[in-house]
Symmetry: C2
Subunit: 430 residues, 2 copies
């Protein structure tokens, strides 16, 4: 009964893929949505899972639940390992099983992964905050170091155990540094009364200022807010070496630490290599304004994995609203192509950006015109993220948790998930 309908395959259930699939829901096409996880991750709050403020399940939502009432969208748990453009067939690995899925149209929305800018060895020891798995791994690590520190008699070792270095002064770096500082100083110290424990959070940024795309006024405000919280900010410095116990900076100084969080930049996931096109900066897939991959037919790419320049020649940033809007556009353009209508070009509706710094501190750059900082910006951040979170129950639980944390300065989900070391890094493809 559905054999004559066009088949659209979407790779990736992040914000880009999800918005594409939602646009195609209940339309006259068959959709297969492929992801290596069975859930969508609300990535802006990963750092709150890492700092034990939220439970993993509070920022993850099963894909099947999202599309439960959408019979034309099917979910496939797996990883795409090959794309045959002539036959229009994908090879998908699901556990030990290899499957083949045909497509009439393909949307690639596999997102991004940390970029070490040539220092790939850093990945062996650095912690990342890209996946739910990353955030659980960092949480376990920090809590385990606290358990070691409380019984450690060598003061220098104890200090290193309790020092966290965050690399990167963008929103993720700032939010992580702020949240870790609060975890350290307001919460954990309360439960480790046999100290003395001296904790320290250091934020390292290569540029002479934080939050590059923000106006100078907000950059300065973010710096001041971080410092007033207690975070040590090192501007104009870069890491040149990283191993367990110590990092070296480019001015020759050294920081003793067992915890380095890498938030210095992102690059596209590796799927571009399967397409046989020349990739742009950061391994991103060059697309036309319609989001179709440059030089290809029937294959679209959206979000972080895609490269498109705006009218001023600047690439669109790796931000959730870009991914959402491109995902919707790709879906619209596929429907237009099927209807024999002309495809539309991408036009970004930019509502601005914001970053939170601990509880009740933040900066917001609304519509790229209005600068907010401090508590008002924090409330705007809080409201926006609550509205964005998917699903009633998740929203309610997150609200309860946040309210609880706010009232009590408590973290009730401070569980070290497994004594066994979690398996290495999560793989990044998709």
């Amino acid at each position: 009964m559905t054999t004559e309908r066009a088949r659209v395959v979407i790779i990736g259930a992040g914000f880009g893929g999800l918005f594409a699939a939602r646009r195609l829901a209940h339309s006259n096409v068959d959709v297969v949505l492929i992801d290596r996880n069975n859930y969508h991750t609300f990535t802006p709050l990963l750092y709150q899972v890492a700092t034990a403020a939220l439970d993993p399940s509070e920022i993850a939502y099963p894909v099947r639940t999202i599309f439960r009432d959408t019979p034309n969208v099917r979910f496939l748990l797996g990883q795409v390992t090959a794309i045959d453009q002539d036959a229009r067939v994908l090879t998908v690995q699901t556990g030990e099983r290899t499957m083949h899925e045909s497509y009439d149209y393909l949307i690639v929305a596999t997102g991004s992964m940390p970029n070490y800018f040539g220092h790939d060895r850093f990945a062996d020891y650095a912690f990342e905050l890209r996946t739910l798995h990353d955030s659980i791994r960092l949480r376990n690590h920090v809590l385990n170091l606290f358990e070691r520190a409380i019984w450690e008699e060598d003061e220098a070792v104890r200090k290193a155990l309790l020092t966290i270095v965050v690399v990167g002064g963008g929103p993720t770096g700032i939010e992580t540094a702020g949240a870790v500082y609060e975890l350290y100083n307001h919460v954990l110290l309360k439960e480790y009364p046999h100290g003395p424990l001296h904790t320290s959070v250091v934020l390292v940024e290569q540029l002479p200022h934080l939050l590059t795309p923000y106006p100078p006024k907000l950059q300065t405000s973010a710096l001041r807010q971080l410092q007033s919280l207690g975070v040590e900010v090192l501007l104009g410095r870069a890491l040149v070496a990283l191993e367990p116990g110590a990092v070296k900076l480019d001015d020759g100084s050294e920081l003793n630490t067992y915890t380095v969080v890498w938030a210095a930049g992102m690059k596209a996931t590796a799927i571009g290599a399967l397409l046989g096109v020349d990739l742009a900066r950061g391994g991103r897939i060059p697309i036309e304004a319609t989001t179709v991959v440059r030089g290809l037919e029937r294959i679209y790419a959206v979000g972080d994995v895609a490269y498109l320049e705006d009218a001023a020649g600047q690439p669109y940033p790796m931000l959730i609203p870009v991914a959402q809007q491109q995902g919707q556009l790709a879906a619209n353009n596929i429907l237009a192509a099927l209807a024999g209508e002309s495809e539309q070009a991408f036009s970004y509706y930019d509502r601005g950006t914001m970053a939170t710094i601990g509880r009740r501190r933040a900066v917001a750059w609304i519509f790229n015109r209005f600068a907010l900082s401090g508590r008002l910006a924090w409330l705007a951040w809080l409201g926006l993220h609550l509205v964005m979170l998917l699903g009633f129950r998740n929203r309610l639980n997150v609200l309860i948790n946040w309210a609880w944390n706010y009232l009590t300065y408590d973290r009730s989900v401070r569980i070290i998930w497994s004594q066994e070391a979690l398996p290495g890094k999560s793989s990044h493809q998709q």
Copy 2:
């Protein structure tokens, strides 16, 4: 300032160890509580985490939070690897670090682990429900099999993917079978509309009846309730072989399945071997009525790991109330010994037992005199477990989740935690 106080070390933060530590809180001794996890696990609800009804953190509570306002109780994350009874010193492994902790009195409360009764190879493939880790592993496994089954075209393979065999007709087996059946048939089928998916839950019990210690009337009621739910119950049968894809029973029949949950019995954790005493049945440590280990001084054992017979010559069962009451008694007797007073003998206050079978079915044997079954027993079960759960927040969250599940037949925490296989079995010592 505290060097002259007696030092009591408790190994294990389960129900026995926790109740001992609570009894010693604010008393005139220093307490060190050792566990390999930083949380106490509310084990009666592990099967609900395994069936994605509850989040892991809802049944786990950080030990430090429990003893936050108890300065004389310190927590040590680690595993005891040796006990030097002459020097009264424990060797504790914490990550890569080896520590030595002295004690004046020791309470061993490391609990139990699954018993394969000679079929140790079964452990390679069977799933267990003893730790939080076990329950997350089983949950991931079942959800992954569903994702495979929905795309599987071979009907026989699909049927095997959707068959779960629970071994053991005690409370854990019954509760797991009931909960898995509901996960299968009410919840997941709703989200896998492209079936047809035929699921099947089989409960295998070696004895000719379920729930051995219950009166026959309740045993029959439990059987009837399971069958009315849709669980296939095989009484008087035992597993003779177990490998991925199939189990063999002692009547020569075979069941094709990739999921076997072992709930057939427990034995003591391995710590008994460190004490140099002859162990009783199931590797349990023989104790005197005071809970002191038979033949030793200053070392007490409580709960599942300890072996004590009642007046009728029957060993006390491996049940939470026994562990709680013995833990309190050991603490009391240590305080009595320190005060030069005489130690008391164990006297079990038995409130009875109960087991739930899915939603709104249960059996309860209250004070071992009053038999309840059906919805009334279920309400009693629900109330008791809510009251037992530690900590206000956990209780509130569990209540919200349960109410949500009850109203919607929904499971909102259906997340597969990590695509990477979780590391093998959790180790059982402690």
